[in-house]
Amino acid sequence: MIPPETARPGPTPRFRIGDRVRIDARPLATHHRVPAYAKGQTGVIIRVCGEHEEPERLAFGQQHRLRRLYRVRLQQTDLWKTYEGSPTDTLDIEIFDHWLQPA
């Protein structure tokens, strides 16, 4: 667990609330915090969180690097072809800046 003092305001975030983003689909065999189902998906930024240690480097005890964290809202009907439920149902997920591109 990373203590909160590592979460810092940091430089101006690349994305703002309401921006459409695509989550990178790149495969990575080592530790990272993007589940497979979210890769390649497009969603909307719903919250700009602080900066936190980059998990990929932290996992190997490498020199620390802060990365901006966002909450991204995905639509369930985009995620799953056979989704049964309301078309308004969502999946909200935390994604680091270096896994996001403008969409």
Binding site: M1, I2, P4, A38, Q76, Y83, L91
Partner: protein, 207 residues
């Protein structure tokens, strides 16, 4: 893996024998770290005892009950949960705590698909099902079916928001206050707030 190596065994007697490659890898890694002297078997056992001694917490229920009776606190809790929780004298546990408010239109439910992230300082240790592969894989794909299995039937016009706790934040659901509790005290209300209702797989108890 063959069983002819006499040292390979689970770290505690009541742990079941590892069955998968990764479970054996965990046992082997643990033994290597102890052989290298990074920690002793006794230190490991003491750490396990410490983790297991944490009581399932009622702190979360008291936070919810306060939010039900105190509008200013509710607003503060939704805006900055860490300071609101600390103002009640509870540990917000060094993570960015986010409170998700259920309404007549929106039902929130929390999962950690990658491991078992959970607001432990408010809810204690996560239940076994929260850590199960079944819950973690199914809640994101078919949340309404999973909720039905918990006895939670939501109308179609209620939006279900699944929150995947994948990185640094921890989530606590603020359930709807049950009807018929208008004149209830905060202490009595807290008894209606279950752990599961704060994960979001159920509603609060009805009186």
């Amino acid at each position: 893996m063959s069983h002819d190596h006499p040292h390979r065994h689970p770290p505690q007697a009541d742990h079941r024998e590892p069955v998968s490659h990764y479970e054996w890898l965990g046992v082997a890694l643990n033994e290597l770290l102890m052989e290298k002297g990074l920690y002793t078997a006794q230190e490991l056992r003491e750490m396990m005892a410490e983790v297991e001694a944490v009581e399932p917490s009622t702190h979360g229920a008291r936070v919810v009950a306060r939010a039900w009776v105190d509008e200013d606190f509710r607003v503060r809790l939704l805006k900055d949960a860490n300071t609101a929780v600390e103002a009640l004298g509870f540990d917000s546990a060094a993570t960015d705590l986010t409170v998700l408010e259920n309404t007549d239109e929106i039902h929130n439910v929390v999962v950690c698909t990658l491991c078992s992230c959970y607001p432990r300082s408010l809810l204690g240790r996560p239940p076994t099902w929260y850590k199960s592969a079944s819950y973690r894989s199914r809640l994101v794909r078919e949340p309404r079916s999973v909720l039905r299995e918990f006895g939670t039937q939501l109308p179609d016009n209620v939006t279900v928001r699944v929150h995947d706790s994948t990185a640094e934040l921890r989530y606590l659901v603020l359930p709807l206050r049950p009807q018929g509790t208008d004149d209830w005290t905060e202490e009595r209300l807290a008894e209606l707030v279950t752990r599961d209702s704060m994960i979001g797989v159920t509603t609060a108890r009805t009186p």
